[in-house]
């Protein structure tokens, strides 16, 4: 602390300082002074909280949308269900609108127009990200379901299983393995996109870094620090996904 004050005084006075002294002062004021690491920690907690909430919402939305859309697309010719057709058109609109507009615009609209009276910016952010992620996840899962050969469904049905059971025990387990890498990609994008909620006042990791940078007029250490934290989080995420993928592949005869 005393060392920091002394060296900082030297630096502001424009006296010559060693590289080590500069590093110490800039690092100290970016992370340690006034317990600033707490701001980053709170930011990380919010970032993870938003990611998990959005992930759960996105997967639920994605599965529902994908199953309904696949069911519609794989109907036998001449046996079209009009209700399914209507719901399919609705879901298609949802996917088109969400994928066709930038994330930041969606956040602004949700934060300042639709939920104009809400003060829980973090929840609004998580909801927006979840709805956004749902559209992408839906297309990934739909791709997986469509990729399973039609013969699998026919075999299941001819053995006397109904549609739901065939989906649950035959098609979905095969689809999950195929889509896991793409899904992991989407989760990583989601984690990094949480940084956008700072535009509507959500206090996540980037918000903390920006506040500290604005305090010290020194952008390098807070931003690089935040980047390293994001990188570590994504690496942790990738590692967990890798374990999951390996477990699923355990039964493969390769």
């Amino acid at each position: 602390m005393e060392q920091f004050t002394a060296w900082k005084a030297l630096m502001s006075a424009g006296e010559p300082t060693t590289l080590w002294q500069q590093f110490y002062v800039l690092f100290y004021q970016a992370f340690i002074e006034n317990d600033r690491w707490r701001q980053y920690l709170n930011g990380v907690v919010t970032t993870l909280y938003v990611t998990v909430l959005a992930l759960v919402l996105g997967v639920i939305l994605g599965v529902i949308v994908a199953v309904i859309r696949t069911a519609h697309d794989q109907q036998r010719p001449g046996h079209r269900n009009p209700v399914l057709g209507f719901v399919n058109a609705l879901l298609k609109t949802y996917v088109t609108v969400i994928r066709g507009t930038p994330m930041m615009v969606q956040l602004m609209i949700m934060g300042l127009v639709i939920f104009a009276s809400s003060r829980d910016f973090v929840m609004v952010g998580a909801l927006t990200l979840g709805i956004n992620s749902g559209a992408y996840t839906a297309e990934i899962i739909r791709g997986g379901l469509m990729s399973v050969d039609q013969g699998q469904m026919e075999a299941g049905r001819s053995l006397g299983m109904n549609y739901t059971d065939t989906m649950r025990f035959v098609v979905v387990p095969q689809a999950i393995k195929a889509i896991l890498p793409a899904l992991g990609n989407e989760f990583i994008v989601l984690l990094k996109d949480t940084s956008l909620i700072s535009v509507i006042g959500g206090k996540e990791l980037l918000y903390a870094a920006r506040s500290v940078a604005a305090r010290n007029y020194e952008p390098m250490y807070p931003y690089v620090g935040a980047a390293i934290i994001y990188l570590l989080l994504v690496m942790l995420f990738t590692w967990l996904l890798g374990i999951f993928e390996r477990r699923l592949r355990a039964s493969d005869r390769r």
Binding site: M11, S12, Q39, L112, A116, S117, S118, R119, F121, V199, G201, Y207, R210, S211, A213, A214, R215, N216, Y217, E218, P219
Partner: protein, 246 residues
Amino acid sequence: MKKILAMVLALAMLLSVAAASAELTTLEAGKFVYATSPDFPPFESTDDEGTVIGIEPDILAIICENLGLTAEPYAIDFDSALVAPGAGKADAVVSGVTVKEERKATLEFTIPYVTIVQGVVFKSGADITMDNLGDKIIGVQSGTTGQIEATDHFGEDHVSAYDKYSLAFQALQNGQIDCIMVDDMVGAAYVKQIPGLEMISTGYDPENFAFGFAKGNTALVDAFNAELQKLIDDGTIEQIILKWNE
């Protein structure tokens, strides 16, 4: 008569040569690029064509003309504008920058040309006084002295920082924040534009505005200081401020 005209012309040429040979180094020769966050009326905002207008662009236009430079705005968020000169992305930051001791470590300031205090803007009729601000959510623009004062007095949990003051004012109208801490001249400009708002003064220490240059370009700062002093002395700056506050 002709002789006098010739002499005046000669003098003018001599002066212009003298001005040009003063060798003011800027990032791009002949241009003065200034970083600014143009959502800070009356100091700077944008008109319908997207041109940056306001008190500071007007002052800069006069100074730059006298120095033989062309002023060119570099519009960016305020917290990024503050570090732009140090990063070599602009010659100076001209964005209603308050002279603060901590900022002097990275910026070289001109002489101040205007003084303001922090104000608090809220919806008319809301129960806001300087005593109960500690229970409220205060909106600010990221990186401003408003953010620093608000967090210093009321803590991080009571402050919500936005990219732009225009966004903060939107949130205030939505009721997502209770009030906004902002320089009083700027607050007054927003109060005039948006019906149903009012402003009180914080009574904090007055703040001086100046232009912030990158460290080391003393010749440019000296030239600006001389020009600024002239404009302060002959009342031009006062006139410009009055014009924009009408």
